[in-house]
Amino acid sequence: MSGTLLQIAAVFTVLSFLAFGGGAAVLPDMQHQAVDVHHWVTPREFLDMFALSRTVPPGSLIVVLVGQKAAGVAGGLAAFLAMFGPSSVLAFAVAKVWHRAGRAVWREVVEQALAPVSVGLTIASGIALARSTEHDWIAYAVTAGTTVLLTFTRLHPLAVMGAGAVLVTLAGG
């Protein structure tokens, strides 16, 4: 049990430092670790957990469910602290340097250089997730439709997720 907790802490601490552009960036690696390496969850469960975690702010608490499946509530809390603790401490430390830098040139350079990285990671995570779960044509259609709807309209994400759930259930999964 405590062995599993240590593994959870180790996996998510590493991911915490790699989550450039938000929690979505590390989803493909997290899935690899949780499914293929440690066998905590199945690919299907991972997608279920992703959907559940998206309904609760800040939308990136999937780590809690993965940890909870692996080692109960203690596992969920360990995953939570390992994922959000290190990045929060880093943010706190960077803020001190950052605010001191004012409008220094290197600050602008870093901001500009990181923008396409964040964008690329966010989109890549969606594609990697779709490819690694049993996505049939209905699921691909829902993913594509949602992408278009949420890119070009102001529809509420939760409403669109609900519609996706209803559509796939009616289609018989």
Partner: protein
């Protein structure tokens, strides 16, 4: 920086607790701004945006970083901890409960529809991620170089499934170099 009314730790905790509850329908960033800038007036819009920009640059969930940064600006290290705890307390509890229900439903016959519905919601949630990336890209990534950087990441991770760390080790220096090169011209 002088703030119009100093934030007590209790009030800071309460504010982020409220934000954690109200944002359950989504729009966390908007709720943070509304509570701290408009209602409490602890920070102004400029300070909010400065913290928001920084929260996107460091690794980790943007909204969580934002709470930590604002908490730190108002009350230092303790403020950061208080903001973080207040923000996450309710969502974390709800998710642990949801997880409990989900794992329990797994072993109950006749609950297949839950898995089917979740698969649908999951497919839509994936689209939500892709759309978020596209929206961010439309405003922030407009020139050829940065577009190629984003495209390389999408192909490397999304299609070729190269591990994130390896991609970052190549892409981060490349993007920094490209930015410096473009600025020098």
């Amino acid at each position: 920086m002088t703030n119009r009314s100093p934030a007590s730790l209790g009030a800071l905790f309460l504010s982020f607790l409220i934000i954690g509850c109200t944002s359950i329908g989504g729009g966390l960033t908007a709720w943070i701004r509304r509570e701290l800038v408009e209602r409490r007036r602890w920070i102004d819009d400029q300070q909010f945006l400065a913290n928001y920009g920084l929260s996107q640059i460091v690794p980790g969930a943007t909204n969580v970083n934002l709470a930590v940064l604002i908490g730190a600006q108002l009350r230092g290290g303790i403020g950061a901890c208080v903001a973080f705890t207040g923000l996450m307390l309710v969502p974390l509890s709800i998710l642990l409960l949801l997880g409990g229900f989900y794992f329990a439903a797994h072993s109950v016959p006749g609950t297949n529809w839950i898995n089917t519905a979740l698969a649908g919601a999951g497919a839509a949630a994936i689209g939500f991620n892709v759309a978020t990336g596209i929206r961010l890209g439309r405003t922030n990534v407009r020139r050829t170089g940065p577009i190629l950087i984003a495209a390389a990441i999408i192909i490397g991770i999304g299609v070729l499934r190269i591990p994130l760390l390896e991609v970052l080790l190549v892409i981060l220096p490349t993007s920094l170099g490209l930015t410096l090169f473009e600025r020098s011209r």
